[in-house]
Symmetry: C2
Subunit: 225 residues, 2 copies
């Protein structure tokens, strides 16, 4: 929601509804919103406050046209590689809840790959000296949350790492300075609606004091809205 | 801010003021706030929505007493190892802005190490099949942002990885299931005040279309408040 030029949103609404939003319109992202996205990103903490990060916004259609085919190659490798077991399991039992959810994600991810060129803005994020990722993904996630508050959808993809050399060449990224590409976030105004993400509840994935011990809290329903 | 049992905060306030907050009081974190923290964490996206994560809350003083000395060993290794060049540079030129800021972080980090046992709540986060970290750090950062909205400070530390085997033994984490410890977040009510973090401005760390090219936006002052 933007009120008189000042955008605002409750933190809970942002945390609960910033899902991977892949189906978007080609409408451009206004410069003020781009500034809000980047300025939120750089407020995130990083180890030793080193801020060893770089963000590269890509809106040039000629570059997007080069990246799209590479992205589809990565997508094809994903389905025939690391995700093949899950895909086979879903095909074998298409009525199972897990299969339905996985195939839904696949359709959404395929839409993104097939339409990669239409995203009006891509944000690539790079980090130096960050082997865990703990000093770059908070900044990326802040960018996505800030975008959400402006009604802008996004999703993080790390797949282009499969074609890193080509991507670095297209974007002019130096190969010899230790910049690791943490991912690419395509932004766009969604065609669909925002909603609270369904997740396995916290008490099933969290323990207290010892691995496997009960959390001591039960959270059957999302605590928002 | 908690109003009638419902906590609320503007997303921008959370994104801009959730700094690493290490100086905290020993007061316990109420169970409702713990639930809000975890429920926010699990709403974050993960690759393929796989949710291959586990969160381990530690509030048992006996466990914290075992972890504290290990944490201080890790801290000592950090200052004599990876951070030694920055420490030497700061000692050689203590009046430089960078030195002042680095020594301020060091004092804060040392306070955390020296007082590790007083944190009323630690959250350890683990992930499987997440080599980049892109599927766990958004969840951790969401937990920290949700805590911020409840007035609870936190900071992410990945240092205990230096003593991973001992930490896994203390917490009962299986060694053979591929769970990677992404980090530990100590939570507590701050002794100091919240404020907007000073950072290198976005236009100095962001480019448009080509590495090194101007961003085309200038953001001299934080866009919040």
């Amino acid at each position: 929601m933007v009120n008189g030029g000042v955008w605002t949103m409750d933190i809970r609404e942002a945390l609960y509804t910033t899902r991977s939003m892949r189906r978007v319109k080609p409408d451009p992202i206004e410069p003020d919103a781009q500034a809000r996205i980047l300025d939120a990103a750089i407020r995130a903490p990083s180890g030793g406050n080193a801020q060893n990060w770089r963000f590269l916004l890509v809106d040039d259609p000629a570059l997007r046209a080069q990246l799209g085919p590479l992205y589809r190659e990565c997508r094809d490798e994903l389905w025939t590689g690391v995700y093949k077991p899950r895909l086979d399991a879903a095909a074998a039992d298409p009525e199972a809840d897990e299969s339905i959810q996985f195939l839904k994600i696949k359709r959404s991810a395929d839409w993104m790959a097939d339409n990669f060129e239409i995203y009006p803005l891509l944000m690539f994020a790079f980090a130096q000296h960050d082997p865990s990722g703990g000093s770059i993904y908070p900044a990326i996630w802040s960018a996505q949350l800030a975008a959400r508050a402006d009604g802008i959808g996004s999703s993080l993809t790390v797949m282009l790492a499969f074609r890193q050399a080509q991507v670095y060449e297209i974007l002019g990224v130096p190969e010899d300075e230790g910049w690791n590409m943490a991912g690419c976030v395509p932004f766009g105004y969604p065609t669909g609606r925002w909603g609270v993400a369904q997740r396995r509840p916290a008490h099933e994935v969290a323990h207290r004091n010892q691995w496997g011990a009960p959390l001591g809290l039960t959270i059957d329903e999302p605590l928002y809205p």
